[in-house]
């Protein structure tokens, strides 16, 4: 067992979410590396912020409740009336 991970190893474990699944020893190794290495610390922070930013963007551009309702009723339309099965949603309208 070695105490020091290389930067490449540390970054791989962080970017692939291995950190999250790691045991105590491996976590300690990664955290120890980050404690010593500013570049890797910066890299880890960028990845974390990247996730936060994309999450925020996705929530900001969330479809309007009214759009969702319309879509929902389109989808559910096939359910309520027994005459029109869910197949109707797929049927291409004839000209």
């Amino acid at each position: 067992m070695k105490m020091m991970l290389s930067c490449e190893e540390a970054c791989r474990k962080i970017a692939s979410d291995e950190y999250a699944e790691a045991g105590r020893w491996e976590r300690l190794q990664i955290r120890f590396h980050l404690w010593l290495c500013g570049d890797c610390r910066g890299y880890a922070r960028q990845l974390r912020e990247l996730g936060t930013s994309v999450r925020q963007l996705a929530h900001d551009t969330q479809p309007q409740a009214s759009d969702i309702e319309r879509l929902e009723s389109d989808i559910l339309a096939g359910l309520s009336s027994p005459d029109s099965g869910s197949d109707d949603l797929r049927r291409v309208p004839r000209p």
């Binding site: 570049d39 880890a44 990247l50 994309v54 999450r55 996705a58 989808i75 359910l79 869910s86 949603l89």
Partner: protein, 214 residues
């Protein structure tokens, strides 16, 4: 070690550990109602997951109207096959699995995930043979309130192949657990790690190359 390091790495993983909002959807009785075509149960599923499905389709690079179509197609397929749903996975897992296949179908040929990926070489070139940084990461612009930055993030996301993008979105935006994402994408944990590694680095590299203004 400064205490601020704890939790610095993966807040999304922590929140992924949150329990499903719709725990009752996993009940055998609920699954049975779904399979039988019970309207109320079906409505509950559509109402609960439609926003997430649309959001993920948009995140995958579809325009709002395309994303609506993809979401609708996902639920149509869901309604068609739900009678065969055995409830061995959560209904959300089942639904996202359908969505993933719809997205992959629509995007076929645009970016299949190959075994070797150009991003791997880009990353190798960043490190010396002993694993130390050769080219340390430069700053990236993530000021999401800036319209130009928002657009760049969107463009960079667009350049990520489908499976990688889905892995990234399900982890970071939908905050699903590892095991569930593996089921949705039908990949092993190791494989999911590779997808996330590539997605994150591809995005980071793309944004780094854009630089930071002002």
């Amino acid at each position: 070690m400064p205490s601020s390091y704890s939790g610095e790495l993966s807040p999304s993983v922590k929140s992924a550990a949150r329990k499903h909002r719709s725990d009752s959807f996993g009940d055998a009785a609920f699954v049975e109602r779904l399979r039988a075509g019970d309207e109320q149960a079906t409505r509950a599923v559509v109402t609960t997951y439609l926003p997430q499905i649309v959001r993920t389709a948009r995140g995958a690079g579809f325009s709002p109207s395309q994303a609506d179509d993809v979401a609708q197609a996902t639920f149509v397929t869901f309604l068609e096959v739900v009678s065969r749903f055995e409830g061995r996975s959560h209904v959300r897992t089942f639904l996202f699995g359908i969505l993933y296949r719809k997205i992959a179908e629509a995007r076929r040929g645009l970016g299949r995930d190959r075994r070797a990926d150009a991003i791997d070489e880009v990353m190798e070139d960043r490190f010396a043979p002993d694993g130390q940084w050769l080219k340390a990461p430069r700053p990236i612009d993530l000021r999401v309130h800036d319209a130009e930055v928002r657009q760049k993030i969107g463009e960079c996301l667009e350049s990520v192949p489908v499976a990688q993008k889905m892995a990234f979105l399900l982890r970071e935006v939908e905050e699903l657990e590892t095991a569930e994402i593996c089921k949705i994408l039908e990949v092993s944990r190791t494989n999911l790690g590779v997808l996330l590694y590539r997605a994150r680095n591809r995005l980071r590299e793309c944004l780094e190359s854009q630089g930071v203004r002002g």
